[in-house]
Symmetry: C2
């Protein structure tokens, strides 16, 4: 006998998780499609060189890498961004720009599993490649807002900033040389706190005064998006191309009436090198400790590893597993219901044909109907089956007619024919 | 520069493939859900021992197998059946029976790529575990029929047989000792033809007379399901438990009015050892050479590698990539349309805010709307963009009102306000 177990850091998705997960993914796909975004998919396995770059990552323990039977050095994708860059370089002539795509699928990282972190998880990425303008930035932000509102999430805020404004500020204090280290340190502010951040910044710059100035930049909060933006322009020497872009983006958000979900948060930098403009993270108002559930920004040149063509773009990634963990903690109704069917039909031996015919009729009305397949079972077992699957209604029939029982209230409704019973039926 | 290429036997899915693929998967999921089937998912990576059994498959070149960073012997799943068996053994107490599940996802096999065969492909499995009765067999068959009809496929036939009837027949000619070899040979009939099959059967049984009798059994076709069934009963010594089951299944199919899509085809045996009862394959009437696009059957004991509990069931697998290849060859309308949006809005510089507001209004009517993000582009470029994405309508606006152009017919409709233009709008 072999022990039925999954690998450390991996997990099965049972119906109670998989049903709401599919529901969430469908809603997101519907939003993306309504904006004219198209789906793509890429192979799970790629050449390691394609994923990590030449010579890069020899010692990268984070990825699942191996030699295939043909001796090729291959690896499982660890995000959807790198495969997308390769995909763009390969198919750009056919795809054309602007290209708006989404990609929802699994990625793998060999990191040490902790609470809420797994070695296999789902990312949901969407990008606009081609244009570099405020309209594209705003469209991605609008689509994020529409995604979160369509999921019925109660309270979320998008924290925006701009890499260029931060760079202008670093120039003004003569610290562009340390920008990578400073960006990475600032990115940790939420985790390590102000004091630790100040200490690290002082070490990097060798100047406590500069550390304080950086801290005051990234802590700027004047109570409104525009006031904070103006304050930051002040600190870093006036308006700039970067700050004008943020003004233009905000103006579009205002014109569509959704600006209140967005704040200017100069502590947002995103650790990754490839961002060049707008950057953002998303927090659930009631669960800030969860961290960002949707992050991204603008990049100048996504596919430079594979092509000489410049491919600027703007894009986001929703961490679906983290978002679902958050929704569960918030007891979101989106996760509450995972019923396998609306009606369970129970019948006696010999009535199989009838039961199945009735079931087909019910399905043709758009109602999900499960036939209980063991006609000799005791009612206790049948109730347990319905309860386990959260099926709300039980339908029985005899020569006298039909009985529909609401298993939550125990109310019964009787009718001589199925049609009249279904007429009043509404799925909750 | 790194060459942007995918591995041999792998492929990207571009929007023109991914849009119809997602549409097909949604339709199938809707059918499965309407029958009360629930989705599950399992990890892509498993312990090799779990997938191949103890000691088994040391030399199996067909699978992607490696040592992970923790030194574990792991492999990528090569089907959805083995992980399901492991899943059942692990979670059966929580799931309960009858358990009706579906699972649509990728699997990997390292076989040599040929036309239409890839190393990464999607399977779509659905099973009922628990009951062993005609009603369950029939429900799976009905759901297959509903799946194919909901996909709008023009002409398909389900070929049914029963392993037990074949075994009874082999008993009657005293050839149960060679049953595995005979089953595998018969399974190849469609590929290798009658003469070659007869030759192989004569080699296995050492008796040309027996080879002829086997051939006449598997070639029986009396023009109707019931007549063929009766003929086979005749050949193998009368009614049996197996043939009674087939009668009961057919009676249910008849009572729901779908029996005409099913034929009794005794040449169907399925090569795999674990089938014990009903077995079936599915062929597209206009494309028999494609092979079976949906196969499966009844098994006695799926999870015996991992648990002592008997878990009988019946289940099917749709080869989604093969089915899609067939639909493409048949020029199915299901694959024809992969438009990224219904309407493309074009605007001039300065009108971004307006364009985006109108787009939001259009989306709120359930119409997919793409905003062209480069206001300075020439119309020629915009038309090429719309054509490449199969977007049928172009919307422009000015102070005078709105113009909606059908890009296929070049018809234009004008209106002073957007509402009246949208009122008559129907998505094809």
């Amino acid at each position: 006998m072999i022990e039925p177990a999954v690998l450390k850091g991996f997990r099965d998705s049972l119906p109670k998780e998989e049903i709401p997960k599919k529901r969430i993914i469908r809603k997101l796909e519907d939003v993306f499609s309504s904006y004219g975004f198209v789906p793509i998919d890429t192979p799970v396995l790629e050449y390691t060189e394609v994923l990590l770059g030449k010579g890069g990552g020899e010692t990268d323990k984070q990825i699942f890498r191996f030699s295939d039977n043909g001796g090729r050095d291959v690896a499982m994708r660890f995000d959807l961004t790198v495969p997308f860059a390769r995909f763009l370089a390969q198919h750009q002539a056919e795809l054309g720009t602007p290209f708006k795509r989404y990609h929802i699928n699994k990625v793998w990282r060999g990191e040490n599993p902790q609470k809420g972190r797994y070695r296999e998880f789902i990312q949901c990425d969407f990008d606009i490649v081609g244009p570099d303008n405020a309209e594209s930035d705003a469209e991605i932000l609008m689509m994020m807002n529409r995604s979160f509102s369509s999921l019925g999430i109660d309270g979320y805020t998008f924290h925006l900033s701009h890499r260029g404004m931060f760079n202008t500020f670093l120039q003004s204090i003569d610290e562009t040389g340390h920008s990578v280290d400073i960006l990475r340190t600032v990115d940790k502010l939420r985790k390590i706190g102000k004091d630790e951040t100040r200490k690290l910044l002082a070490e990097i710059t060798g100047d406590e005064g500069k550390a304080d100035r950086i801290l005051s930049f990234i802590s700027a909060d004047e109570g409104s998006f525009m006031k904070t933006l103006e304050k930051l322009e002040d600190i870093s020497g006036g308006r700039s191309e970067a700050s004008e872009r943020m003004r233009a983006i905000y103006s579009i958000l205002e014109s569509t009436g959704i600006a209140s979900s967005f704040v200017f948060d100069p502590s947002i930098t995103r650790g990754l090198d490839y961002y060049t403009g707008l950057v953002y993270e998303t927090f659930l108002d009631k669960l800030p400790s969860l961290g960002s559930v949707c992050s991204g920004g603008r990049y100048n040149d996504l596919a430079s590893l594979y092509t000489k063509e410049k491919l600027p773009g703007v894009g986001s990634s929703i961490g679906l597993d983290r978002l679902m963990a958050g929704l569960e903690e918030l007891r979101s109704p989106l996760l509450a219901s995972s019923s396998s069917a609306d009606i369970l039909i129970v019948h006696r031996t010999g009535d199989e044909g009838l039961a199945i015919r009735y079931a087909e009729k019910i399905r043709s009305c758009g109602i999900r109907c499960d036939v209980y397949l063991l006609p000799e079972a005791k009612m206790k077992k049948i109730y347990a089956y319905a309860e386990n699957r959260a099926i709300p209604y039980l339908l029985t029939f005899s020569d006298d007619g039909f009985t529909l029982k609401d298993l939550r209230t125990r109310d019964e409704k009787k009718a001589e024919d199925l049609d009249s019973l279904l007429k009043g039926f509404a799925i909750d």
